[in-house]
């Protein structure tokens, strides 16, 4: 089986040659097989977000390559990669266009993968959009003409998730997408995530600060520390892992456990 995503020996340095030079990623390599749901954890500054931005095309590596389905996409601009990669940001405001309607936002997402044309929004898609929105269980299916700016953070994030997953992208990238939500909304968005990912068998790269999510969701857990992979577990080994084990790892590093709920757990 070929790997869906491959990061080959990539390093990223910010402000190279200056006094504030930072090595964000150090010769990192990573392969995600098709259909896998990988969860990445790590303390602040570990390089998690840098890794996602490397995959999505906001940063280019100093050296190394990013390969999606056998295609080297290292030099592709971000908007070009977005045809094949769906992404949800941490900030619910970042993932949707506030002054536009729910329908407009979904149309934007749907035309992502095939290129945009000077063609009117097709009325015929409403039924499909309603059906998709109904899966969120938030009553948005009756509000296609509602302006997105008027929705709650949880609703916006659920919509952003739906938009990222529409058209079954080759890779779904989730950047701490429940971290900015209240606990109830976070739980609901996480449920929807699991449903969407499992139903369409989406290959997923997810960052989380929530240790419970890191253990419960996905097929594989990877911990980054100072730009390197610290551990990478899946299968039986991962099944036996508890939140306490993960917290122990963090404490061993002397790192802050950034998730307060993890300390309670």
């Amino acid at each position: 089986m070929t790997d869906r995503l491959e990061v080959r020996n990539c390093s990223i340095t910010f402000n190279p040659g200056q006094h504030n030079e930072v090595r964000a990623l150090t010769e990192i390599s990573l392969a995600i097989p098709q259909g896998q749901h990988l969860v990445i954890v790590g303390s602040n500054g570990a390089g998690k977000s840098t890794l996602l931005n490397l995959v999505c095309g906001r940063f280019t590596p100093d050296h190394g390559a990013v390969v999606l389905d056998g295609t080297d996409i290292t030099d592709w601009p971000e908007h070009h990669r977005a045809r094949r990669i769906g992404r949800v940001f941490q900030d619910p405001i970042a993932g949707t266009a506030a002054p536009m309607t729910i329908e407009d936002n979904l149309t934007l997402a749907e035309s992502r993968s095939r290129g945009r044309r000077l063609r009117g929004v097709r009325r015929g898609r409403d039924a499909f959009y309603r059906e998709q929105l109904a899966r969120l269980g938030m009553g948005l299916e009756d509000r296609l003409d509602a302006i997105v700016g008027g929705l709650s953070g949880g609703q916006r994030q659920a919509l952003a998730l739906l938009m990222a997953a529409i058209g079954d992208p080759e890779l779904l990238v989730l950047d701490e997408h429940t971290a900015a939500l209240d606990p109830a909304a976070a739980a609901r968005v996480m449920e929807i995530t699991t449903e969407l990912v499992e139903e369409s068998d989406l290959t997923t790269l997810m960052i989380t600060h929530n240790m419970q999510h890191a253990v419960d969701t996905g097929d594989r857990t990877l911990m980054l520390h100072r730009g390197k992979t610290l551990f990478d577990v899946e299968g039986k080994e991962r099944d036996g892992m508890s939140v306490a084990d993960l917290v122990a790892w963090f404490q061993q590093l002397g790192a802050d456990v950034s998730d307060r709920s993890a300390l309670i757990a």
Partner: protein, 347 residues
């Protein structure tokens, strides 16, 4: 808050008789002239709305694309090109100027205002080169309105009879530009509902989101600014056909007039969360109101018993417009500051 409203009310009461007498002293031809100018300038207002509101890109290039459109229309018409064909040619030149501003910003990372100032400085030379001199007269040359003047007069007379009211050239301009503006509005309404149009709106609303949805935000920004300036150039061309002369200095300060129309349209005609069509129509109507307000201001005279009267000159309008736009832009901030003080007092 109350203080501000009292001030507004006081000014209103003081000015009311003046405005009232100005309304009645304006002849029908003056009303129609104001309406014609409002319609001529409506595409420019829509263009300013496009950059200022939809793209959130403050763009001064309209000050140059307006005379550029005029230069194109004048020189082509004088050269014998069919008058209607000068409109798309003018729009193409405007789009080019807008694209230059956009490219300066996107590729060279030049600040938006500075980029547009650079373009409009360079465009001055371009406009003079196109025109051949700083102003050109179209007197005696067939313009877009010329062949329509007689049919429109005959038609109006057959409907209303010979009312004795002279059918001014502004009447013809009003009717023809109304049709042009309706076409522009409908075309934009269609465009903003296409996939490309939605992507343009998204680019202005949220850049990170747009990129993550596969939108080449740099390209769309350049395209959007080009479209905005094409509309300003269309206004420039219509103005030249209406007035019968082109002047390279005619664009100065138009961005402020455009902003004034956007704000007037929004304040007078919109509730919150309007559709894009309503917004565009409101902005166009804002320009008409702005032009009528100018006509009224020029007709008004403030009487000071025993001292004499004060009248506004045509050259005073820019000051008045700038002051009003500054106040309108400051208004939300003033209101927020007021609310803040109120909160602190209540605590």
């Amino acid at each position: 808050m109350p203080l501000m409203w009292i001030a507004v009310a006081l000014v209103g009461v003081l000015l009311a008789p003046t405005v009232w007498s100005a309304v009645w002293s304006m002849g029908s031809s003056q009303w129609i002239a104001a309406l014609a100018l409002g319609l001529v300038f409506a595409p420019l207002a829509i263009g300013v709305y496009l950059t200022f509101r939809i793209l959130d890109f403050p763009d001064l290039t309209v000050d140059a694309s307006f005379p550029a459109g005029g230069a194109m229309a004048a020189s082509l018409t004088v050269a014998g090109v069919h008058p209607w064909l000068t409109l798309p040619a003018a729009m193409a030149l405007g789009a080019l100027l807008g694209a230059v501003t956009g490219l300066l910003h996107v590729f060279l990372r030049i600040n938006s205002l500075l980029a547009s100032i650079i373009t409009l400085t360079a465009a001055f030379t371009v406009n003079i080169r196109i025109q051949g001199s700083s102003n050109v007269s179209l007197i005696g040359v067939d313009r877009i309105f010329t062949p329509l003047t007689d049919p429109i007069r005959d038609q109006l007379e057959s409907w209303f009879g010979d009312t004795g009211v002279q059918i001014h050239r502004a009447t013809v301009t009003t009717i023809v530009t109304f049709v042009v503006v309706v076409v522009v509005v409908l075309a934009l309404r269609w465009f903003f509902k296409t996939e490309v149009g939605l992507a343009l709106r998204a680019t202005g609303a949220n850049v990170p989101m747009s990129r993550s949805q596969g939108i080449n935000t740099s390209g769309y920004l350049v395209g959007g600014i080009a479209l905005s300036n094409a509309l300003a150039a269309l206004t420039g061309a219509l103005f030249v056909h209406h007035e019968g002369f082109a002047d390279v200095n005619s664009g100065r300060g138009l961005i402020v007039a455009g902003l004034a129309s956007v704000i007037i349209g929004e304040v007078l005609f919109l509730r919150h969360q309007p559709s894009i069509l309503r917004h565009i129509v409101a902005v166009a109507m804002g320009m008409i109101v702005y032009r009528i307000a100018i006509a009224l201001a020029l007709n008004a005279s403030l009487q000071f018993p025993g001292v004499g009267e004060a009248r506004l000159e045509g050259t005073d309008i820019k000051f008045a417009t700038a002051a009003i736009v500054a106040l309108m832009l400051a208004f939300p901030r003033l209101r927020a500051a007021q609310a803040d003080r109120q909160r602190r007092r209540n605590r």
